[in-house]
Symmetry: C2
Subunit: 266 residues, 2 copies
Amino acid sequence: MNFLKIFLLFSLLPVAFSHETFDSRLLPRPLILEYPDIAETHFNDLENELRLHCDSWRFSVEANNVNPWKTIPEECAGYVKDYLTGRAYAYDLERVSKEAGVYAKSVELNGDGKDVWIFDIDDTLLSNLPYYADHGYGLEVFDTVEFDKWVEKAMAPAIKSSLKLYEEVLSLGFKVFLLTGRTEGKRKVTVENLNNAGFQEWHKLILRSADDHEKLAIIYKSEKRSEMEKEGYRLLGNSGDQWSDLLGTSVGLRSFKLPNPMYYIP
Amino acid sequence: MNFLKIFLLFSLLPVAFSHETFDSRLLPRPLILEYPDIAETHFNDLENELRLHCDSWRFSVEANNVNPWKTIPEECAGYVKDYLTGRAYAYDLERVSKEAGVYAKSVELNGDGKDVWIFDIDDTLLSNLPYYADHGYGLEVFDTVEFDKWVEKAMAPAIKSSLKLYEEVLSLGFKVFLLTGRTEGKRKVTVENLNNAGFQEWHKLILRSADDHEKLAIIYKSEKRSEMEKEGYRLLGNSGDQWSDLLGTSVGLRSFKLPNPMYYIP
C-alpha cells in the first residue's frame, strides 16, 4: 500500500493546496500549511473507496457474477494479497468446512457404500498459495509451464480446514471421490503430494484423460459426475473453489464454494 | 455499534486493569490510569474481529454455503445495517447490473422474439429495504402477515441499478419474464407497484397459482423456467437475489446473483 500512498500524496497535493487557498479567502486562518492532515484524510477516503471497490469485486467473483476473468484487477492487488496472507482467507476457508461438516453430519447415509462426497484438489484440498505468492497472487496471467513446474514439486501444503473436513466425511462413512482438472500425466505427483499433505485414503482419483484435455472444466466435471450417478452413486456433497467444480449437470445434493480470488477456471 | 461499544467497555475494563497492573510491576510508569486508550485499542481489535466474522458470514451467504438460515446472526445486526444503509449495498447492486449489462450486450440474440431475460421481483427489481428497516434488517423472524401488509401498500421503490438494466435488456430486444414467489392474489398490487416504480413493460408476469403454494421456490421457479423452454424460449439471462431464483433445472445461460444479506428463501 506504500507505493499507493506515495502516488496518492503527490496526486492529492494540488487538492490539498487548492482547499487551503479556498478556505483562506473566507476565514482568517493561522498561516500553517495543513496539507499533511488533509492528505491523510484523503488517504483514508481513498483507501476506504478502494476497499469498497475491491470488496465488491470479491463478492462478484464469489457469487459468480463476474466471469470469465483472466487476472485480478490491478488496483486490487494489495487488497487480494492482504486478504490471502491475513486472517480473512483462512477464516473463510474454515467457515466453509464447518458448514460442510454440519451438513455432512446431518445428511442420512444409505450405508451401502454409494454415499459420495466429491473434492476438487487444487485450492480445495491442496493450497497453491506458495506458487501464487511468487506470481502476484493472481495479478499475472496464468502460465501453464511455470505452474506445471510447481505441481511437479508435489510440495503444495494441505488446506488445514479442508483436511479436517476430509477426515470427518471419511469417518462418517462417505466414499470420497477426488475430481481434478489435472491431467493423467500428473497422477504420480498428485498422489505423492496428497499423501505428503496428509490425504491418505480415497475411493477414486479422477484426472483428465486425453479425451478430456480440450473440454471446459464445467463440462468435463459434469460428465464425470454423471458417470458416478450412472454407477449408482449418490452425490451428497461437493467441495470446490471454482464454480466450474459445482455447476453444470449432476450437481448433487449440496455444494460448498471455497473462496478463491486468485484465478478463474471456466 | 454504540451498544456494543458500551458492552465491550465494561467487559474489557478488567483486561485493561490487569494489563495496567502487569506493566506497573515491570516498569516505572506515571500514575495516570490509561485504560481508555487500552480500551480503545481493544475496541478496534474487537470491531475488526467482528468485521472479519460478519464479512465471512456474508461471503458464506452470497456463495450459498450457509443455508438454510432464518435470521441474520445477532452479533452481525449492526454490520448488516451498516452494509445496507451505507454505500456498499448500492455499490454491489450496481456492479451486478453492470456485469449483467455487459453480458446482455455481448450475447447474440436470435431476434425471433424468443430471447428471454428473467427477473425476480422482490429485492431484485423492487426494494423491500423500507420494510426490513422496520424489522431489524433481517434480525426478526420473517412475519408473513406483516410483510403482506407492506406488499399491499404497493410502495416498494425500484432498485435503481436494476431498473437501468431492465430498460437496457428491453431495448436490446430481450423478452422480459417476471417470475416471482408472490401469489396470484397479489397480481393487482404487484402490477401497481411495478408501474409506480418505473417498470412498465414485460412479456409475462408469473405468480404462484394455488397449485404452487406449497412448493419450494427453487422447485416452483425451475418448473416455470422449464415451461418457458418447452414453449421455445431461450433463457439467456436470469437475475435474482436468492439462489432459489437461479439454481435448480432449466437454469439458462447466465445467472446474476444480487446481494441480499437480509433473508433466505429455500
